[in-house]
């Protein structure tokens, strides 16, 4: 079996799907890319059993066939080659693979393609067309807030609910929660599912801007196809926490403030907070916000006063500054409002200037402050 392909085109396509390849996979064959040639089209597959990505490249080939090629070795080779057509010559008996280039020949031992796991088929119950920009926005707004705790698998992915007039994306790690809605994505039937974090991060890394994406969902799997690339992942088969009831509704204390002013102030104050709890204190009275922190162990302390627009009773509430900084940093709005009811109830961060088609709500749980009698 033999085919000729541009080194840079192959490298670009392989780099797009290489994120799936685990460094120490459970099944050794998964350290390989599966190459399959069919009528002049090369389909390359990478998988970690949970997530599979494929990409297609037209190549110059006279016969069909398959081979599994070590991913790292191949990528390292392609990265160091100057752009040129390279010839792959494969012995389908021994799986020995030779790469012939202007610079020389490289021999590596491939593996039997039969051993490569089958790509799960997505028997679609639901198919949605959307723009890559909308999907990227949804991922960027939510995926950072997912949990990394394997003991709570439902929270290690982003929850997606499709109804006939909108799509809702929700991520939470138990301390904060993001709910992101778009009215330009919808599904015919009301469907809920959880897409794993890794799959979304891979999508984020490989999705180009301004292309159409077809998302298909079955009971167990999801598939995202765009350009010549496809990502298939197993869905998280768990019940997502009842997030709607966790969002407080009667929040009578509302602060409106410039997002970057608040963010920059928090970053400075945070330096003086306890290194493990990152606890800071927000004191609100009239139209003044006082942000303060202290680390009792080292007698460090800091405080700043910011002007804001505050409606409500004077209150003091504690938060983990790291969570606030991460959430505010992920927003683009000029002005935000922080809505609160009590020092022991969640605070809601809502961008004051809204984008069309979008609705974003961020929720963060407070830290109980020590009350000095």
């Amino acid at each position: 079996m033999k085919f000729i392909v541009s080194s840079s085109v192959l490298l670009k396509n392989l780099s797009n799907i290489n994120g799936v390849v685990a460094s120490n996979p459970i099944v050794p064959i998964l350290e390989n890319f599966l190459f399959k040639i069919e009528d002049g089209t090369l389909t390359v597959t990478a998988s970690d059993l949970q997530t599979t990505m494929t990409t297609q490249i037209p190549v110059d080939a006279t016969e069909n066939g398959s081979i599994a090629i070590p991913a790292k070795l191949l990528l390292d080779t392609l990265r160091s080659l100057p752009e040129q057509p390279v010839t792959f010559q494969i012995d389908t008996e021994t799986f020995g693979t030779q790469i012939l280039t202007d610079n020389g020949r490289y021999k590596l031992s491939g593996e039997n393609p039969i051993d490569f796991p089958k790509i799960p088929a997505v028997n679609k119950n639901l198919s949605v067309e959307l723009s890559s920009d909308a999907l990227l926005d949804a991922i960027n707004n939510t995926v950072f807030a997912t949990s990394t705790d394997d003991l709570r698998p439902a929270m290690t992915g982003v929850y997606l609910n499709l109804s006939d007039d909108k799509a809702t994306f929700v991520a939470t790690d138990g301390h904060r929660l993001i709910r992101y809605r778009r009215t330009d994505i919808s599904g015919s039937a009301n469907t809920s599912l959880i897409v794993p974090r890794k799959a979304l991060q891979l999508l984020k890394a490989s999705l180009p801007e301004g292309v159409d994406v077809r998302a298909e969902f079955s009971q167990a799997n999801a598939s995202f196809s765009f350009s010549t690339t496809q990502l298939i992942c197993r869905l998280i088969d768990e019940r997502f926490p009842d997030y709607e009831n966790a969002i407080p509704t009667n929040n009578t204390n509302v602060m409106t403030i410039g997002r970057t002013d608040l963010l920059n102030s928090l970053k400075r104050i945070m330096i003086y907070a306890n290194r493990t709890t990152h606890q800071i204190r927000l004191s609100l009275k009239d139209n003044k916000l006082t942000i303060s922190a202290e680390d009792l162990d080292y007698s460090n302390e800091a405080n700043e006063i910011l002007l804001c627009d505050y409606e409500g009773v004077p209150m003091e509430i504690g938060f983990n500054a790291k969570l606030l900084v991460e959430m505010l940093g992920n927003l683009s709005a000029k002005m935000i409002s922080l809505e609160m009811s009590a020092p022991n109830r969640a605070g809601l961060i809502i961008p004051a200037d809204k984008e069309e088609n979008e609705e974003l709500l961020m929720l963060v749980m407070p830290v109980m402050l020590n009350t000095y009698a």
Partner: protein
């Protein structure tokens, strides 16, 4: 030669002679003068320590007990008494502490001491070593071997040179020459596998090793190549480090007969979980990573691990994670001879209640 910028250090390596076996012979006169092995004599047992009488038959520590019996049919097996060894170890560390606070214990019976500046104000490290040996004998009725030199590598070689009850000094001028004649396999840090690899490359002695370029050694042995290049010249800049931080807590068990059912494996895990959890509780250590080690009947060994975002809150969680890791390797296609549980990513942060409120 040591770097000219630093003053020449004085390092002592103290190594108790056939430690566990000697303690047993001390406490039981009937064992004296006889070949003794500490460890389990049964099918799966391993020799933890062998008395000098047993060593003349070729019995070595870490040898399978069946092999040891084949080499020495009269070998007497004694069950280890770790509590006693720990108590003796505390006694000898108290002796070390009279001379310096720079003590780096390697195990219960072995330690490096940096006596460049010492409490007794003695100028001679050799004299300190002699006094330490005498005091150990006085308080424990056991003998130790001591090596004195200007770095850890040579001090350890020196203590090994005149065992048992030895005292040997490698002076700065003699270091490189001393290393020359020794087989590379005797160097601390060069194990059986590395020694075999070196032999295959034509490196048998310290001299052979010294004749290799640093580039050659790093090419074949990676980062360790630098170390080998330097020790072949008698150079070792590693400091005596009194508080080496513990990086993991583990417990493992080789079973009498291979386990194959899920139930047997789950049961086999329980004492290991108890062990590591009790240790962490007692020392107030928090851990985030759990590793399950499995050795199959054919000695193939695998590990599976999981890291969680906060320190393990309780034993139940630890047990649950162990069970999940176990599930990932089930069903086993062959018997399991060994199970191990270890905790890593340790911190002082114990599972104290967090004031951060949660949502669900």
């Amino acid at each position: 030669m040591p770097a000219p910028s630093s003053p020449i250090r004085k390092i002592i390596h103290i190594d108790m002679d056939a430690f566990y076996a000697s303690v047993e012979q001390r406490d039981n006169p009937e064992l004296r003068g006889k070949p003794v092995a500490v460890g389990g004599s049964r099918a799966r047992g391993v020799v933890a320590a062998a008395s000098y009488e047993a060593r003349t038959f070729g019995v070595r520590s870490a040898m399978a007990s069946v092999t040891a019996i084949r080499k020495c049919p009269d070998l007497i097996f004694v069950k280890p008494r770790f509590e006693v060894y720990k108590a003796v170890s505390a006694q000898i560390r108290a002796v070390f502490a009279e001379y310096t606070h720079l003590i780096e214990p390697l195990s219960l019976d072995e330690a490096y001491l940096d006596v460049t500046e010492n409490r007794a104000g003695l100028a001679s490290a050799t004299e300190i070593a002699r006094q330490i040996k005498a005091k150990i004998r006085e308080t424990t009725q056991l003998t130790a071997s001591a090596g004195v030199s200007y770095n850890k590598f040579l001090a350890k070689l020196a203590s090994d040179h005149r065992k048992p009850d030895g005292l040997f000094v490698i002076k700065p001028a003699d270091g490189p020459r001393f290393v020359e004649s020794l087989p590379v396999g005797t160097f601390h840090g060069i194990g059986r596998v590395t020694a075999g690899k070196m032999n295959a490359l034509g490196i048998f002695t310290g001299l052979d090793l010294r004749q290799q370029s640093e580039e050659f050694l790093t090419r074949h042995f990676g980062k360790a190549g630098h170390h080998y290049y330097h020790i072949a010249r008698g150079i070792d800049e590693r400091a005596v480090n009194p508080d080496r931080v513990r990086k993991s807590v583990g417990s493992e068990n080789t079973f009498e007969t291979d386990l194959s059912t899920e139930q047997a494996l789950v049961e086999g895990l329980q004492p290991l979980i108890d062990d590591v959890w009790a240790y962490c509780q007692h020392r107030q250590i928090g851990a985030r990573t759990v590793t399950l080690k499995v050795k199959y009947a054919d000695f193939q060994q695998i590990t599976r691990s999981r890291t969680i975002s906060t320190v393990l809150p309780d034993r139940t969680t630890l047990e649950r994670i162990c069970q999940e890791l176990l599930q990932s390797i089930l069903p086993v296609t062959q018997g399991v001879r060994l199970l191990g549980v270890s905790l890593s990513t340790l911190s002082d942060e114990t599972s104290t209640p967090n004031r951060q409120l949660t949502l669900f």
